[in-house]
Amino acid sequence: MAAPSAPQTSVRRRGLFGANAGDRAFRWGTLLVASSVLALIGVLAYELTTASLPAMRQFGWRFLTTSTWDPVHRVFGALPFIYGTLVSSFLALLLAVPVSLGAALFLAELVPRWLRGPVSFLVELLAAVPSVVYGLWGIFVLVPLLRPAQAWLGQHLGFLPLFQGPPYGIGMLAGGLILAIMITPIITAVSREVLQAVPVSQREAAYALGSTRWEAIRGPVWRYARAGILGAIILGFGRAAGETMAVTMVIGNRPEISASLFSPGYTLASALANEFLEATQTLHTAALLELALILFAITIIINALARLLLWSTAQGMARGVRE
């Protein structure tokens, strides 16, 4: 049963019953497991949609454009949270991706082999810190450090709407920064593994043609590693968008839309975490779960865009090389 879509391997029929059965079991077994992931998302989407129905019926599409969140008067709107999630996640990516890729590059290419293990290990250790602890560290250490930094930024670059407003320390900038720190280990570790997995032959070919190490990386190594690194970034984005505890402690939790990084903000995930444990009205709970559904949709959209990006730039070499 030659799989028409099996990429790299040609499954050889051995003619012996045992081998075929083994391969069949392998294929169907892994297929079953993979479908369970799809099923899981399906169940999640279903449960979230059913639970949000009361809010969807009440507000319809206005939910996405209203800026008020008022549990007392039962008016709910998701716009400030959508804004907050997008801004904080992209800010986190903006800060984390250069640092993570740079560190991954360093660890995969430059660092002497004996040092690579320990330093990679240290970076991955960042992932072991509980999010609650990040939040507390954020309030007690990061925010007091940010306050003078924000004051300085406000003084010197205050003409930019990005840096206006009182320098409380708590706000979108603190939120983005904490998220950046939290997603760095994932992006670094996975990118490092991907870079390390690029076959030596590719680099050797480039060196044979006289390229510097940087040129080798920019060329064949990057084309090989590109998909994996994008995967790492997507994982990072997912983590940033869905993070609750740490963000909610430093972002100010104010559902408002403001151009300034110093203003407080609110994300979909934080609002959900903050209010779900206490919400008792059906409409309130439904509105909160609709926020979760919106986050779900945002993740889908961003993922689709990322894939489109990869697909459009991957024509040719990347797929070809793997064959």
Partner: protein, 291 residues
């Protein structure tokens, strides 16, 4: 173009290329430092806050009400280990086998769908996973359990493991597969004995990242494993865990509970450190040289 001109041009080009090279290394080194600085600050803070409260009682006693000395998080430590075990029992098979499926057979629409689903799952807030498991496990069981908690955490492990496994398996050079196949190995044997072994380092990294992340999650456990003031290692009863205990202590007004919360955070990081070191040691090998 005269020889001199062409020579100076190529020297200039060489200089540019060397400069670009050097710049990259400088940037990479700085980036690594930038990544390590927050780590240092956070770890330092945890140690400074937590070490004073770390004593034998912490590891052997249960929680005591506020103001009474000698309290500890013994049941939470055991609980976290059990939950990590249960989560891995769910997350590892699904993640690794799923990743293998995607890498070996997944180049069609269904595979794209699964890949997409895994990436979307990565973005689901932990509290939503907890609510889901509450609806499908806790309410029917009419009670909280370690199993429900393990399931919730296991679900959260899946995206990282599946993604990493797929990418790393894909990157194993075709030459290695072909070598195995040409020796008469079946597909599945090739995958498990050659490909996965070659990709093992990366897969382990994915697993450890996933474990590190779920070990510190609070929100999904609040509705599933719940928490337990008493000793319990039973899988069908509520179970204590470090992140939940840390959370309760951190939000209380008392300084000695705060100190214990930090001590708990320190112990959690140490647990992950030990698990990671053990996993890396157990799966070290010489195959990295073959690339």
């Amino acid at each position: 173009m005269s020889r001199r001109q062409s020579l100076s041009r190529s020297r200039a080009r060489e200089a540019r290329r060397a400069a670009a090279n050097g710049l990259m290394w400088a940037f990479a080194a700085l980036a690594t430092i930038a990544a390590l600085v927050p780590l240092g600050m956070v770890l330092y803070y945890i140690v400074i806050q937590g070490l004073p409260a770390l004593n034998l009682a912490f590891f052997t006693h249960l929680a005591r009400p506020v103001g009474e000395p000698g309290g500890g998080m013994a049941n939470a430590i055991v609980g976290t280990l059990i939950l990590i075990g249960l989560a891995s029992a769910v997350g590892l098979p699904v993640g690794i086998l799923g990743g293998i499926y995607l890498a070996e057979f997944g180049n069609h629409r269904f595979g794209a769908g699964v890949r997409f689903a895994a990436d979307v799952l990565a973005g689901v807030p932990s509290i939503v996973v907890g609510i889901l498991v509450w609806v499908i496990v806790v309410v029917p069981m009419q009670g909280f359990s370690a199993l429900a908690g393990g399931l919730a955490l296991g679900i959260m492990m899946i995206p990282t493991v599946i993604r990493t496994t797929e990418e790393l398996v894909r990157l194993v050079p075709v030459s290695q597969r072909e070598a195995a196949l040409s020796l008469g190995a079946t597909h599945w044997r090739t995958v498990f004995k050659v490909v996965l072994v070659a990709a093992r380092g990366g897969v382990i990294t994915g697993v450890l990242l996933a474990v590190a992340r779920i070990a510190g999650e609070t929100a999904p456990l609040l509705f599933t494993a719940f928490g337990n003031r008493f000793w319990s290692a039973r899988l069908d009863q509520p179970i204590a865990s470090l992140p939940v205990q840390i959370y309760y202590y951190a939000i209380a007004p008392y300084d000695d509970w705060h100190a214990q919360a930090w001590a708990g955070a320190l112990v959690l990081v140490l647990i992950i450190l030990i698990l990671s070191a053990a996993a890396r040691y157990a799966t070290r090998g010489r195959l990295r040289a073959i690339r």
